[in-house]
Symmetry: C2
Subunit: 344 residues, 2 copies
């Protein structure tokens, strides 16, 4: 397989397998930096293909470069499902490209909303590590390419909301306890009131599925990178505590009824032959909770990330090696899920 | 264990384990003969305890005698669930008793609605065999005890509807195909129109559960025993054919959706921790169908009779060795079902 084939294969990126802090609640941490090249026009309609070569020169080693125009729609969708590119880069960019490192925990999008979107990811709650990873890439670029920077405003970006640090730090969390105890709405309100954003698994515009949420900073201006990451980390630590309390109270209050629900979800995933995205998402969330509560000791935690990722539409189409009807998609999804969980 | 303890234990009667004809549709065949002793009053309110000794003398070997008054309510309920006594004998008889042979395929109820109710059972469609078994018991009694018989009317019984042969032949069938294809109502109408009765699994007054039905003759007068059994056999053979056609058409029409439903039922039974009688009955029916359609080759057919029998209320109370709340019953039911199917 070529390197490209590997990235587009059924492989989990390192940040979905590694161990990390607070993995019972936090799936992953991510940081992205928005950057633009000085002297190049950066409203999106004026972007040009030359930028790709400019940036690619800096990362000739250890990074695979893929231009959107060279990829099929399916391959692009796959990269979105792997969180390696954004939906915007997939479908709207005129001269979009991406550079991805071998571990798949760093990706540099080119000609997204900004010339550069540097992204670093890690398992669990580890925002300082991913910030350091992203800044390292940033420094490497800055040594060779002058970036659009204003002494007073900071980094200049296409969209006003990114001006300053150009930093968006985000954390993907699994909150079944808060969802099932119906405390989630209040928690989301509280998080929003202190200036953070709560979204679904695939960021902007996506709905929360499998009780998975993404929490990120709203402000990019007026704080240092470290302050933004520190503040978000504190919010997440609060959330982790609340989620753990909710899980404990669920277990105490519902005991056998909760156990019943979690095992039924397992039985469903292990046996169904036709399953919709939303039904499997609910069951995967229950099974994930079950693993964290100690019910399914034979199932490693990483299997849950496999289940979530590989039951997405583009992955299913890649497995089937064809486009498919709604029913076929459900059949393949059920089959992929059974394979991951190990058939009897 | 004493012989009584064995009968009251978690053992399947022989007719629930043996092989038999048309077992894919027919669970069991049963014949009962109603008889009364000449010279003894037989309206139920005038029955007396002496009859028990009279009959017991004839069957001193190979039969276990149990008087209702010596049994707990739970033990009696257990005998009903094993189809060894009737609900009537369990709760309404003043001087009720039962004689049961070792294989548990012959039982003689004493002081039921009539002095004697002779019952023989076998696996699959085998009415002639059970008729012969019941008549053999009848002849044995008649050699020693004069029975109430009228040259013109035949055997005399408490209830008019049993006069003549005193014979009720019945067959327990599993009809998921006809139920799921919604042809069951028409079939039941057709069967009723030719003089047969369709009931639930536990006879008179019981609702069909797990898609299991009992079909029996209405008339006891004007036909010989052999004619009654022959006619019922013909009706059942028709029904078997119809059920097989329905199953084939289900499989062809719904294919993967049917397979999905059957496997989900299996997953549910194998994993649930809390399950109601009706939910488990539905799932057991689906699993039974799945086995007959060849989906679950590792599960022997007899397991289904175990599941049906051992998930009944009295059996669950025996397992728990105590009375229980509604929730406890569901928990024990789920646990018993998992044990029968073999936990992972």
């Amino acid at each position: 397989m070529t390197e490209k084939q590997v990235i587009l294969s059924q492989r989990l990126s390192s940040w979905l397998i590694e161990d990390g802090d607070d993995r019972d609640v936090v799936i992953s941490s991510r940081v992205r930096l928005a950057r633009n090249i000085e002297g190049q026009p950066f409203p999106v309609y004026a972007q040009n293909a030359e930028i790709i070569e400019l940036v690619a020169q800096v990362f000739s080693n250890g990074f695979l470069q893929m231009k959107m125009q060279d990829l099929t729609g399916l391959e692009r969708a796959l990269l979105v499902e792997k969180h390696l590119i954004s939906p915007y880069l997939m479908s709207k960019s005129l001269h979009g490209a991406v550079l991805i490192n071998e571990a798949e925990d760093v990706s540099i999008m080119i000609n997204e909303e900004d010339h550069l979107r540097i992204q670093a990811m890690a398992a669990g709650l580890n925002l300082f590590k991913v910030l350091e990873g992203a800044l390292e890439i940033d420094r490497k670029i800055e040594r060779e390419i002058p970036l659009a920077f204003d002494q007073q405003l900071g980094y200049l970006t296409s969209c006003m909301t990114n001006i300053g640090t150009g930093l968006r730090a985000s954390v993907m969390v699994h909150l079944p306890g808060l969802v099932k105890t119906k405390r989630i709405r209040k928690m989301i309100e509280a998080i929003r009131s202190v200036g953070f954003v709560v979204r679904g698994m695939y960021g902007e515009g996506s709905q929360p599925a499998s009780d998975i949420f993404q929490i990120s900073n709203q402000l990019t201006l007026g704080k240092t990178e470290e302050e933004i990451v520190e503040d978000l980390t504190q919010v997440i630590e609060q959330l982790i505590m609340q989620e753990r309390v909710a899980r404990t109270s669920l277990k105490q209050k519902f005991h056998i009824l909760l156990e019943d629900r979690l095992y039924r979800a397992y039985g469903l995933l292990k046996n169904s032959r036709v399953i919709s995205a939303s039904e499997s998402a609910d069951a995967i969330s229950d099974l994930r909770l079950g693993i964290e509560l100690g019910y399914f000791e034979h199932i490693p935690r990483e299997k849950m990330n496999e289940l979530v990722l590989f039951s997405q539409p583009a992955f299913l189409r890649m497995v089937a090696e064809k486009d498919m009807t709604e029913l076929e998609e459900k059949v393949i999804r059920a089959s992929v899920i059974r394979t991951i969980l190990g058939e009897e």
